[in-house]
Symmetry: C2
Subunit: 405 residues, 2 copies
């Protein structure tokens, strides 16, 4: 935990509440609309949103007009010098002795939108606990952890078109599953969440080029919460040999606020202990994780909770691995961390693990749950705890609607 | 084969050559540039390209200015009525008694570009011969064909950012492979091609909606040749349990010309015989394949050659399956058919199959080949044979450059 005994304060009163997700030290980016105005870029502070278009019109910040877009891609594409300059400027404007005329919109009056146009979505599998737990359920304990797991970040390409912002309802999917006498067409019976962090890539890399872990760090703009909704019965029938497909395409919910790498920097820490050395292309010059509490709720009840530092591969390692083939990366690419699970059942980030494959129901507000039922709302949260403040992500929620047969 | 004894002729002389890929009946769309002009949309006829921007400027066609874009997405997004109207108009203009003032650019003077901005790329696995052959090599004969294979089109999300147009060099990738004593970092030693057809999706579908096979047919704009370059040694080490990732991200080459569904319609035919009934959502009201020769060359030498009608699942069935979860589809989505292989070794669409896992080299211009070597050029071709004409795709080539260690 950083030891700045008296953290700097903002003239936006709510930002100084120690339990507020959006203090002066955070300044996450998002896209919002209010009234009849079209969506535009903003920054969260306390219970308010800084209207960056109005700010730029008044000469308070300068981002080449990119804040007027309905997504952050054009701002992000300007590069780290612009990110750093804008953050420094907003920190000064919103500090206690800053400029109280900065145009703000109350968050309660705003609608929040998908913050980026997702170029492509890649999902990884970087919690050893999760990989082992799920491996046991899908393949038995002997084959639980794949042979290459401790040597490379395993990932697969997900579907970008079904990434939605927090609050978007999620429709229970229909699909093909293994039945008693051959395949069966059914509404999903084993609907699950996956508690993840998503890294937003902020720079392009050319085709044929490889990116080092250090370069990859420089390419990451920030992070969102990410719920990779999963249809476990569809997944079990479809996933061999080419990986999950329709079981993961029903929807992926991300938080509306992108917490920047800069805001998380004071919480940098090591991840899980390595069981073998990594090949040089995956070696880290410094720790690549953050000391950050992350958890989920169901219908408001706290469920699994752990720390991001249980992870085995960092987003920078995943990004470096992603380019080994020469695969070009683009601004707006979204890299899911993989489900974040600690070692205990109460630390797991998916019902599949928490209920041990649906065998042992958990109680939610006095009702048993094996998997997600229609009407259930799943929420994710995360925060890095400073002294007297915390860097939070705000909510990332989705409610499940019944299937359409 | 259609039986129109005297096929209609064009005033563009080369289009009437029975061996020409681009007769009046074809009219495939692409994006080209000539001289210092920016890339724009065009249609191939004989040895010429119709400059659609110049055509629209002269009032010969009407596509709302979309032909001036450097990709066909905006034209395609206007829908089937515009596709049909434009095709009928161009057919009339280019017919023997048409308008000889249509602005043409010699193909020899033009540079061809990627015809679409690829929204997302999904690759399937729909040749039973290929699935079985590769299954034997990766998992042995008992587990060769996955249990669900004859019940659903198996597919995975590929990487859109590495889709390139014919003629783009392909860099041999570096990667992590299984070594004698743990993983090894190496240039790929088992580089392969995959002979495929790619379907270009021409309409959006909303999130949460499912598309029937009949609706899916209506959403397909046309087809390209597609070479899904594959690093087999990287694939073998990485692909379990989440599917191929970096082994397929080094590059995917597509042909510059999109052959429309309308041009292929006269060649519609049934595919491979079904070994079991399909669930109703995959049932076809009419045959979904085309009687079309498809093959590949290496350094100019003919290699594998088969017919698209060996396939088990059509692009329309794949697209319908793709939406079972409610996954939204978008204009510019690219769906790879999967490797097209007949039953004999000389009919296979990948070296992995043709050389039986690299065990039995094949001769290429007097030189043995197990996999692709640096400097090798792979070309794909396909054509549907009419009486006195053929609907061809033109070349789809790529030459392999040495790895960058």
């Amino acid at each position: 935990m950083p030891t700045d005994a008296t953290p700097p304060r903002s003239w936006v009163a709510a930002a100084n509440d120690p339990g507020c997700d959006f203090p002066l030290q955070n300044l996450p980016y998002g896209v919002f609309s209010a009234g009849a105005e079209p969506p535009r870029c903003g920054v969260a502070i306390g219970d308010m949103i800084v209207d960056l278009v109005a700010c730029e019109a008044r000469g308070l910040v300068n981002a080449g007009g990119t804040f007027a877009a309905p997504q952050l891609n054009d701002f992000i594409a300007q590069g780290r010098a612009v990110w750093d300059r804008t953050r420094a400027r907003l920190s000064a404007l919103l500090a206690e002795d800053g400029d109280k005329s900065v145009p703000l919109v109350p968050m309660a009056q705003a609608r929040l939108h998908l913050p980026i146009r997702v170029s492509e979505f890649t999902d990884f599998y970087a919690s050893k606990n999760h990989a082992f737990n799920v491996g046991v359920l899908f393949r038995g304990p002997e084959n639980a952890l794949p042979a290459q797991w401790t040597h490379m970040p395993i990932g697969y390409n997900g579907r970008a078109s079904s990434v939605v912002v927090s609050g978007t309802p999620i429709r229970r999917p229909m699909g093909q599953v293994r039945g008693q006498a051959g395949p069966e067409w059914t509404a999903c019976r084993r609907l699950d969440l996956e508690l993840e962090l998503g890294a937003i890539i902020g720079a392009d890399s050319p085709m044929g080029a490889r990116v080092s872990v250090a370069q990859a760090e420089e390419m990451i703009f920030g992070y969102v919460l990410l719920n990779d909704w999963s249809a476990r019965d569809i997944q079990a029938w479809e996933y061999q040999p080419l990986g999950p497909f329709q079981s993961k395409a029903l929807g992926t919910t991300i938080s509306p606020w992108i917490v920047t790498q800069a805001a998380l920097e004071p919480f940098r820490c090591a991840g899980a202990e390595r069981v073998n050395p990594l090949l040089p292309y995956l070696a880290e010059e410094r720790p690549g994780f953050y000391d950050m509490t992350i958890g989920w709720t169901m219908n408001g009840q706290p469920m699994g909770r752990t720390n991001y530092n249980v992870m085995y591969y960092s987003s920078a390692q995943q990004l470096a691995h992603h380019t080994t083939s020469g695969c070009p990366m683009r601004v707006g690419d979204l890299l899911g961390s993989g489900t974040i699970s600690g070692s205990g059942l109460e630390q797991t980030g998916a019902l599949l693990e928490m209920t041990q494959g649906g065998q042992i129901p958990v109680m939610v507000n006095g009702q048993p749950r094996q998997f997600i039922e229609d009407g259930d709302e799943v929420g994710l949260y995360a925060f890095a705890q400073g002294q007297g403040y915390r860097i939070g992500f705000g909510p990332c929620t989705g409610r499940v609607l019944p299937a359409t047969p």
